[in-house]
Amino acid sequence: MTDATANSPALPDRKHSGSLMEHTARTRRRNNAEKRFRAYGLAAIGIGLAALIVLLVSILSQGLPAFSQTFVTMKVYLDPAKLDKSGTRDIEQIKKVSTFGYAPLIRAAMQETMTANGIDPEKFGLSEKAAEEMISKEGAAQLRNFVIAHPDQIGQTVEFKFLADSRIDGYFKGRVSMASAKLDSNVSPAQLQLADALKKAGVLKVGFNWGFITNPDASENRPEAAGIGVAIIGSLYMMIIVLCLALPIGVAASIYLEEFAPQNWFTDLIEVNISNLAAVPSIVFGILGLAIFINWAGLPQSAPIVGGLVLTLMTLPTIIISTRASLKSVPPSIRDAALGVGASKMQSVFHHVLPLAMPGILTGTIIGLAQALGETAPLMLIGMVAFVREFPAAPPEGFFDPASALPVQVYNWTQRADPAFTERASGAIIVLLIFLLSMNFLAIILRRRFERRW
């Protein structure tokens, strides 16, 4: 210490070298600079946190109502005169009655339910049609599917749990009010009053909306029936494809580049290109996917296989870079020791280096997958931003069936006219966030538990 001060050319002109306890102007300046920097840092974190909180609050407040739904339980008389005019119970004859033929049954059931619960339909001044419109249009399809599955039930009275129309549902979630209903041609205050009466009678109940998770998308006529079932399956299939392709290809490429490849201009070129690819905007991969996989290879549009392949291309650089980093972090002494006891180069890599690098590789893969899960832009070009109602089949055939994806479903719903879809879009965002959070959490656990420090 004394040597250092003696040899240092800068210090001798310092006149005063007093006690550390005494604050000179210079020390104060330095301390103040540090204080300011701390304040900047805190402010930066504060801004970030505030943005996060605003985002979360707005998504949660808009999206949580999507997880509850208003249901109406009614007994419906399956009128043989309407459903099976031939009286033969022949399934082909029954199928000829379209969903439009089932609407009168719901209309009758609604009137029946009101009288049974002591609600006077006259009191609200609602037409039978207006009362029927309080039930989702999905109801007719629900009835028809039931009758086709159980033709023997025709002529019986069966209890059904119908979805309430999105405006009625919105009333119980605070989205629709008496004041807004007055202005709205799709719902009237009288319908809301009747809904209140039905709720009092216990016919109408609000419950957890499992349908939101399991149902496919629905048209603009019935937002209450829309769900993210197909989107979840589509996203899952794409993630399977990305995992099965990107992990082996990425790991093989990085092991070769890191452990076996000679260091020359060619491998340098490859390295630079991989880093570049990681920064390419994802829409470029979509254009590439459209040109190669659909137009040239003739793969089907809107299918998870094409989405998966495009996302694989997008994820590969991320995986290669993180794999190479974790291979590099395994100390050379491990390789030298393995080679020293007579292992071949390949044995040293696969028996020693790779297992030690595995936590890092998996973390990188999971982060890459999470990134791919939230990707929308490339999927727009390959036809996945579509109205898809059919669930894809089980893999591998299902990879070729049309499907949607979670972020795409969000994008789709935000463009629809009915405000009920905005709520569902936020609900889908919540589900997507839960998936992303759990994937990142998994990555953290893997890193914490298995990573070795040298």
Binding site: N221, P300, F399
Partner: protein, 344 residues
């Protein structure tokens, strides 16, 4: 070991993808975002009532849809293009060059275009002339010479209108709606105002005068919206002084947030559009690739179901959503049943 397994499964996936030649069994539709809600309502009902899978419907705009439609014939091209305007000659030619020669044109009904503002704002009573004078880039002065549009408030355009800053959100040029807006509002207003006549009298040829009539000012008074009506709605929510151009169906779904303006004294509704009283409306179409009929299962049935009375008729779900049903629906039904191609 797990690496070996993963590689094996990856190879399996690759092998399956290489032999992907299985026939497509669902109808694929793409095109206009205005037609999308109607097409998805029909697709949903079609899937429920028929044994065919539910058709896959994409949006993206009329032009984008027709472009994909014209890419050629084959399973990896779409079967139907939705359009909020008639197919152009250039598009028919592009189709023919790619081998798509037989196209069936189906008109499904009419769609109204409405002008709406924030529900809490002032009421508007428009004529096409007002819009022309408010939005045209250049207006002819007394001698027919063009000068930059000086109007900044609606009351300057027409003394009967409220004294409110002109701020309009109109559909961008990629939308079919923009064409209708230009033709039925700006051009009509230009003629009404006598500006068209003044320009031609001043020695301008008709084509140039037309383009001057529909040329929208770029000084920030008018904003092109390239997204959907939801974006226009969001813009109006942020700027309560703004006026937006919407589809009738969209307005009807958001009546608690928007108030609609009358055009030439007529309030837009399915009735006033059906009778032709409300001036700003346009037909909606879809185009079928005839070469795919009989190859893609359900295509013919979907098209026939779309135009059937119970769907596209005045009491059907499409009319309930906001489509103005076509009085000549029976002719369209016959055309679809016979698969009559365009130009025949």
């Amino acid at each position: 070991m797990s690496l070996v397994k993963l590689t094996a499964s990856a190879l399996a996936v690759a092998a399956v993808s290489a032999t992907a030649a299985a026939a497509r069994d669902n109808v694929q539709v793409a095109g206009s975002s205005t037609v999308l809600p109607y097409a998805s309502i029909v697709a949903e009902a079609f899937g429920e009532n028929f044994d065919f899978p539910t058709p896959v419907v994409e949006s993206g705009g009329s032009s984008a849809g027709l472009k994909r439609f014209c890419e050629g014939v084959g399973e990896n091209t779409i079967d139907i293009a939705n359009a909020s305007r008639k197919i152009k000659d250039s598009e028919v030619k592009a189709c023919a060059d790619a081998g798509v020669t037989d196209i069936v044109e189906v008109r499904i009904g009419y769609d109204g275009i409405v002008f709406a503002s924030d529900i809490k704002g002032a009421k508007f009573v428009f004529t096409p002339e007002d819009w022309y004078k408010a939005l045209a880039a250049e207006l002819p002065d007394a001698d027919g010479k063009l000068v930059a549009n000086p109007n900044t408030s609606w009351s300057e355009v027409n003394a009967d209108l409220p004294n409110q800053k002109i701020l309009a959100f109109i559909p961008g040029t990629k939308h079919g709606t923009r064409e209708v807006f230009e033709e039925k509002v700006l051009l009509a207003g230009c003629e009404e105002a006598g500006a068209f006549e003044a320009m031609t009298a001043a020695g301008m040829d008709k084509k140039e005068a037309t383009s001057k009539c529909v040329g929208v000012r770029t000084d920030g008074v008018s904003t092109d919206i390239d997204g959907d009506y939801t974006e226009t709605l969001a813009r109006i929510a942020a700027n309560p002084e703004g006026l937006g151009v919407f589809g009738l169906a969209f307005y009807e779904n958001n009546m608690d947030k928007l108030q609609v303006a009358t055009m030439s004294g007529v309030l837009p509704s399915t009735e006033s559009i059906a009778t032709g009283e409300y001036p700003v409306s346009r037909p909606l179409y879809f185009y079928i690739k005839k070469a795919h009929v009989g190859v893609i299962p359900g295509l013919q049935e979907y098209a026939e179901f779309f135009v059937s009375d119970e769907i596209a008729g005045p009491d059907g779900p499409l009319a309930a959503y906001g489509l103005v049903s076509d009085p000549q629906l029976a002719e369209t039904q016959a055309l679809v049943a016979a698969d009559k191609v365009m130009g025949e």
